[in-house]
């Protein structure tokens, strides 16, 4: 991240957009790349206001209501019939989910 001294707007470089898109397996059009570079930059600029706070001694709050030890018994529950399991698959032979060949090594 670089900071633009003039208006303190964070630039979000195209390369970063592309790297993040690749991590998220998200194909973007060139227009989207440019748009997101601008918009994500503006959003990150906005959220930088959190830096005003010293929260180093505050515990992170992951859950809205903080529970512990929710466990289930090891008891079988009927599975879905295979027909239902693969019913929504974009490609199936009726038994497996099919995907383009995974190239080993």
């Amino acid at each position: 991240m670089v900071s633009d001294g003039a208006n303190n707007t964070m630039a979000f470089p195209r390369e970063t957009v592309l790297k993040v898109a690749s991590l998220a397996r998200l194909q973007l059009t060139p227009e989207e790349v440019d748009l997101f570079a601008t918009q994500l930059g503006a959003t990150l600029d906005y959220v930088a206001r959190l830096d005003e706070l010293d929260v180093s001694n505050v515990e992170p709050m992951v859950h809205a209501i903080e529970l512990t030890n929710v466990l289930r018994d090891d008891v079988l529950v009927p599975s879905l019939p295979r027909h239902d399991a693969v019913a929504n698959a974009p490609k199936t032979d009726g038994k497996y989910f099919l995907v383009p060949a995974i190239l080993e090594s």
């Binding site: 991590l23 929710v70 289930r72 090891d74 529950v77 295979r82 995907v99 383009p100 995974i102």
Partner: protein, 499 residues
């Protein structure tokens, strides 16, 4: 210049729960019926949510206790994010910075004869969900891969060792030790064919150059080793490969990042999977769908009280309590907890650990192997075998006769339902006259009769043919099946040479 292999293992163990870690689907191994053990949760359907299986947690804690790990009082669940067809949610629920256990160690026997051992340190053990299975097109025609999610969500403990292993053989032994430990505890069936126990090995070499400086070769992770033999072969190959590569290129850990290789068992070689560890950014973060787990000292004590004796402890105890050699103790213990318990019950009943060990490691194991049976199905219960051995130690039966009884009991067992009993031992001994004849009078009479009936053999012996006495002994033994052949021989010799 010489080198020292440095090896660490990451071992994945499927826990033997009835149901998956976050849903109620069966964990049974079922590759022939793909996608029949799934539900919205393990299919990762929109809206489905995970709930932790309490038994998976308990078995995981048992595992960690057996590895002498510290158990965390607070542990949580994180998402490890990557895309792969066998991972339906696009993330694996695992544990990142707060695993449920850490800092353990396992005693590795480094010399089977002497029982010498060395601690191998465990960095951590954490609980996670297994992925499904991708079935690839093997024809090379680039056909679709097939995805089966029956296995997706099976509970796994990942055990990460320090790189404390120093040879391929030790890597194998470590895996064997874990196998013994985890099957003893009944936390996993450790069935390697079914993938219940599998490991990745991290291997590199520390090379001491002639000037005394030490350099390290680049680290290689060998993925998905699913047998003891492959683990040893793969590490062996990799050590040799790295040594050769170093001699040719001089590349050290500073010149190349960690790479990933797979083992091809057909060719016995490791092959490159990923040249560079592609900037793996798993974006771990706490799973908001699951809540943390806390455990109390009381809960831990309760789990500890359910633990059986660890094999390493049992091995030492068998040596001291039953005077077994380190080797015999290992043979018995490596066969699994049920066999060890069988041995111990037998030893207690017959009062002679060494004899019991001989019988168990030779006769019992041989028959089990022939019949492809497990000790659980072995027809002779320890009280019967113990009773049989006791008759030998008390000189009521010869070893040879006892073996005959043993065989007859097993033969008889084949056409009857009740398991062979101690009463049957008596029946067989009586029917065959196997009891050791302590009555000298009976023996004298029998010898006299045989000598009378075999003048030719007597003449041959007296003419110097020592072997002729064998025929006489044989005939006496035929009449007196329980007689001590040595005593018969001595008495005949005495009689013929002047008595």
């Amino acid at each position: 210049m010489h080198y020292q292999p440095i090896i660490g293992l990451e071992v994945h163990v499927q826990l033997q729960t009835q149901t998956k870690i976050f849903c109620g689907c069966s964990t049974a191994f079922n590759p022939d019926q793909p996608n029949v053990q799934t539900c919205p949760v393990c299919l990762g359907l929109p809206g489905a949510l995970p709930v932790l299986n309490g038994t998976a947690l308990r078995l995981a804690i048992k595992t960690a206790m057996a590895l002498n790990c510290q158990i965390a009082k607070f542990t949580k669940w994180d998402r490890k994010q990557y895309f792969y067809p066998d991972l339906p949610k696009g993330y694996q629920i695992s544990q990142y910075d707060l695993p449920f256990s850490f800092d353990g160690q396992v005693e590795l026997i480094t010399n089977a004869e002497t029982g010498e051992s060395r601690p191998i340190r465990i960095i951590r053990a954490h609980l996670e969900e297994d992925a499904g299975k991708n079935v690839h097109d093997e024809t090379g025609r680039g056909r679709d891969s097939m995805v089966d999610l029956n296995r997706a969500g099976t509970p796994l403990v990942e055990i990460v060792s320090h790189p404390d292993l120093r040879s391929a053989a030790e890597a194998r032994q470590m895996l064997e030790e874990l196998h013994a430990l985890l099957t003893y505890l009944e936390v996993s069936d450790c069935n390697m064919q079914e993938g219940s126990l599998r490991c990745d090995a991290n291997v590199n070499l520390h090379i001491t150059k002639d000037d005394g400086t030490v350099v390290a070769t680049p680290i290689v992770e060998i993925k998905n080793l699913n047998s003891f033999r492959f683990t040893e072969q793969a590490v062996e190959y990799e050590i040799a490969r790295q040594w050769k590569a170093f001699q040719e290129t001089g590349k050290t850990i500073k010149d190349a990042p960690k790479s990933t290789r797979g083992f091809d068992p057909d060719r016995g070689v490791t092959t490159i999977m990923r040249e560079k560890e592609e900037a793996a950014d798993y974006r771990y973060f706490p799973d908001p769908d699951l809540v943390p787990v806390t455990v109390t000292d009381e809960q831990l004590a309760a789990i500890r009280s359910e633990m059986c004796e660890a094999p390493a402890v049992m091995r030492k105890r068998f040596q001291s309590e039953y005077q077994l050699s380190a080797y015999d103790a290992s043979v018995i213990i490596d066969q699994g907890r049920l066999l060890a318990e069988y041995f111990e019950a037998t030893a207690k009943l017959c009062g002679d650990g060494k004899q019991a060990a001989n019988w168990v490691t030779q006769d019992v194991l041989r028959v089990m192997k022939e019949r492809k049976e497990t000790i659980a199905n072995f027809p002779l219960r320890p009280e019967v075998l113990g009773s049989l051995i006791a008759r030998v130690t008390q000189k009521q039966l010869t070893i040879k006769s006892a073996r005959e009884v043993f065989a007859d009991l097993l033969t008889a067992e084949e056409d009857q339902t009740p398991a062979p009993s101690m009463a049957q031992i008596d029946e067989i001994v009586a029917a065959k006259g196997l009891a050791i004849v302590q009555d000298d009078g009976a023996m004298e009479t029998a010898i006299a009769a045989v000598i009378d009936k075999n003048p030719k053999a007597v003449a041959d012996f007296q003419a110097g043919k020592q072997a002729a006495v064998g025929a006489l002994i044989g005939q006496v033994m035929k009449q007196l099946k329980g007689a001590d052949a040595q005593a018969v021989r001595e008495k005949i010799l005495t009689k013929l040479s002047g008595g």
